[in-house]
């Protein structure tokens, strides 16, 4: 019997993997992928919790909304990475420390 807990565990695992990718990867594309993973983990939670809203399906609606947003965000993110590459000739975040004072 698959319960809500299993969903939440899977979601947590995906979130952690995404988090790991964001913190540790040496490639901006992979970081973007990590971000997508974390968004998807959150969407999974929306969907899982929507079983308690059988009338409006608010969770599922919000999940759809989030997927669209995530797609737009990825587009923006890829555009930024492209510009970063043009500017720095690299996409390794280690070599970008313009944020430092």
């Amino acid at each position: 019997m698959i319960t809500l807990t299993h969903f939440l565990l899977v979601s947590a695992c995906i979130f952690c993997i995404g988090m790991y990718a964001v913190l540790a990867k040496r490639n901006a594309i992979m970081i973007l992928v990590g971000i997508e993973l974390m968004i998807n983990a959150a969407i999974l939670n929306f969907v899982a919790f929507s079983k308690y809203d059988k009338t409006n399906y608010g969770g599922q609606i919000f999940a759809l909304f989030a997927i669209v947003l995530a797609a737009a965000a990825v587009a923006v993110g890829l555009a930024i990475i492209l510009n970063v590459y043009r500017h720095f000739n690299t996409i390794n975040p280690k070599n970008m420390h313009e944020l430092k004072d």
């Binding site: 964001v22 540790a24 975040p93 944020l99 430092k100």
Partner: protein, 679 residues
């Protein structure tokens, strides 16, 4: 003469003194171009003319004349400078002029072609100026100024050949010894001023001066007690000044060394300008002296007379003999002052000036010829040494004649001027000794012995230089021979020789009381005259002189000399009783040791204290420096360093790495959750 040129004696006497000074200034300005000496010569001729025809006849045996000008005022005391003309001062001024004139003429020939001639004439004029001014000073302080100038000018002239080491030593010695006397003079002036309050000669020693015994009768309010101890001290101090200037034993040591100067300068120093100043000073301030000081003067004078005569016996240098004879004759003058007969002292000063100047000029002529021979033949010998002379009367008969006349005068032979003046002193001393009795008789007896010794040593000089055989006779030939002195040198000598005869001073050549000089200066002495002494003392002296000359002739021309060359007594006299060596050991060395000790004290104690202090301060400074560096700076540095370290610790957070920021934020978030969970 006054109709020719209406000039007052005061102005004329000032002019007499200033003319040589003017000559000195002109020559100082013109410098090396002025070597002829004509300026000095003209100045001294004018001075002599003025002195002889305007000043002397107008003042001699007339009332004294004075001129006083206020120089400066200190408080209520105003210091006067001015001119004092009386018998004594005009006589002295005249003597200086009349001696300086022949010396100037003689120098023109004698000093010819000397490389430093412009200096010679300059210094000579300065010397004359100083002495001529000293004679007419009205104020003791003014006298002191010119006294010092005389000393300074003589220093310059003695050291005239300054490239010669001996000349430099000699003028240094003369200067230093004279300093001792000058201190005495200065202390004397201070004593008089502090007790009487004036330095004016007329107010002190004039006819109504505070020191004059006759002023008691004039009811003078301020009369000084004769036996006051300060008066004795002041007298001794002034005498000390005169001792150094007039070369009295034991301060005579500078005079023989002063022979390093040119001979013409020696003659001037010995005759009129330098050594006469001391005797003149004592005559000027004579009323100051009380019985104690006078006795001291007489004793020192006698000592000087006998020691000078004995030293003269052993000398080989022709100028040294004359130098010691001057010392001896100055001793006579001092005795004259000491027995109260300062008129005799002045008389002897006057006659001595002529014959001593002449002796030096003749010696100069001889040395001149000897030096010529030495240069011409490239010989190596001392041109002043008597041993190298002999038989010169054949070559230089006129010089010989002049020197003989001067020697007769020095020996006090009858009909010469020296006879009159020397007898006046010896007879005076005899009368004085007889009046006081007892051991006082030693002084006249010593003087008689000295007179005979004088005759002997001057005879020795004549015999050795002018008789016998000339040592270099075989070197003389037709193209170079010993010649008579040139006429420029001979003329002054002949003039002085004429002045050596008695008629120049007295028309009655055997009685010194008849001399115009003695009558003009006449001094009333306390002791009675002894008529018989006037007869037998001159007779004893003349016979003694003749006998001594005969002995000298036997010894020196007949080669019957009784002493071996190394005779102890002769050596002793030649070395002046080792007086210079004595001074060297006692005074010079002890002063050297003292200064060495003081140097040591200075180096070790005074400098040591300074070093100690320095080191102390340095160590304190070092300690403070350490404290400042390590404690005060340490505290500040500690604060700074710890802040830095803290910042260093957290600076890695802000590294500009996006992932680092995210990781850090995540950590803090987790820590926050943990905190919330644990709480």
């Amino acid at each position: 003469m006054n109709e020719l040129l209406p000039i007052s004696p005061i102005n004329a006497s000032v002019l007499i003194a200033l003319l040589p000074f003017l000559a000195f200034l002109i020559q100082a300005v013109l410098g090396k171009t002025q070597t002829s000496g004509n300026i000095s010569l003209v100045a001294i001729i004018l001075s002599t003319t003025l002195s002889l025809f305007w000043v002397f006849p107008a003042v001699w045996n007339h009332d004294q004349q004075t001129l006083k000008l206020v120089w400066f005022v200190i408080g209520e005391y105003d210091l006067n400078v001015g001119v004092l003309l009386n018998n004594l001062t005009v006589l002295m001024q005249l003597i200086v002029c009349i001696i300086a004139l022949p010396v100037h003429i003689y120098s023109k020939a004698y000093m010819k072609a000397d490389p430093g001639l412009h200096r010679y004439w300059m210094f000579l004029s300065l010397f004359c100026f100083a002495m001529l001014s000293l004679t007419i000073s009205i104020n003791l302080f003014q006298s002191y100024i010119f006294w010092e100038l005389v000393g300074f000018a003589s220093y310059l002239l003695i050291g005239y050949w300054f490239t010669k080491d001996s000349a430099v030593q000699a003028n240094k010695k003369a200067f230093l010894v004279n300093r001792i006397g000058d201190i005495g003079f200065l202390i004397g002036i201070a004593l008089i001023y502090s007790h009487v309050g004036t330095l004016d000669l007329t107010m002190l020693f004039g006819p109504s001066g505070v020191f004059n015994p006759s002023s008691l009768e004039h009811g003078q309010s301020l009369v000084i007690d004769t036996d006051a101890s300060w008066r004795t001290w002041a007298g001794i101090c002034f005498f000390l000044g005169a001792m150094a200037k007039s070369a009295q034993f034991p301060l005579h040591i500078w005079l023989p060394d002063a022979m390093e100067g040119p001979t013409s300068v020696s003659s001037l120093i010995h005759a009129a300008t330098m050594v006469a100043a001391g005797v003149f000073l004592l005559c000027t301030i004579f009323p100051l002296f009380n019985a104690t000081v006078l006795l001291l003067i007489a004793i020192i004078g006698t000592l000087t007379a006998i020691s000078g005569a004995i030293f003269a016996l052993g000398q080989q240098d022709i100028k040294k003999i004359l130098a010691f004879s001057t010392i001896s004759q100055l001793g006579f003058m001092m005795v004259g002052v000491g027995i109260g007969a300062w008129d005799s002292a002045m008389f002897h000063l006057g006659t001595h000036a002529f014959f001593k100047c002449l002796l030096f000029l003749c010696a100069g002529a001889v040395i001149h010829e000897m030096a010529h021979l030495k240069k011409h033949r490239n010989l190596e010998f001392d041109p002043q040494n008597l041993r190298n002379m002999g038989g010169l009367r054949k070559y230089m008969p006129k010089t010989f004649l002049c020197m003989s006349i001067a020697s007769l005068a020095l020996a006090g032979f009858p009909l010469t001027a020296g006879y009159l003046s020397k007898d006046s002193i010896v007879v005076g001393a005899f009368e004085w000794g007889a009046y006081h009795g007892g051991w006082h008789m030693i002084i006249p007896i010593t003087l008689i012995i000295v007179s005979i010794l004088t005759a002997f040593y001057i005879g020795r000089l004549i015999w050795k230089a002018f008789f016998g055989n000339f040592r270099f006779a075989d070197l003389l030939n037709t193209d170079h021979t010993m010649r008579e002195a040139p006429v420029l040198m001979l003329a002054p000598m002949i003039f002085l020789a004429l002045c050596c005869f008695a008629p120049a001073f007295s028309l009655q050549p055997l009685d010194y009381h008849a001399s115009w000089l003695m009558q003009g200066l006449h001094v009333q002495t306390a002791y009675p005259a002894i008529p018989s002494a006037h007869l037998y003392i001159p007779v004893i002296l003349s016979i003694g002189a003749i006998v001594s000359w005969f002995i000298g002739w036997k010894w020196y021309t007949q080669r019957e000399y009784p002493f071996s060359t190394g005779n102890k007594l002769v050596q002793l006299a030649n070395n002046q009783f080792y007086l210079n060596e004595f001074n060297e050991v006692i005074f010079v060395n002890s002063i050297k040791r003292l200064s060495g000790f003081l140097y040591f004290v200075d180096r070790k104690v005074v400098d040591g204290l300074t070093y100690l202090f320095t080191n102390l301060i340095q160590s304190i400074a070092r300690a403070v420096n350490w404290l400042d560096k390590n404690v005060i700076d340490g505290l500040v540095n500690m604060v700074a360093n710890s802040t830095y370290y803290l910042g260093h610790l957290v600076r890695h957070v802000q590294n500009g790495q996006l992932q680092g920021y995210l990781g850090f934020a995540l950590t803090v978030l987790i820590l926050g959750f943990l905190y919330l969970i644990i709480k």
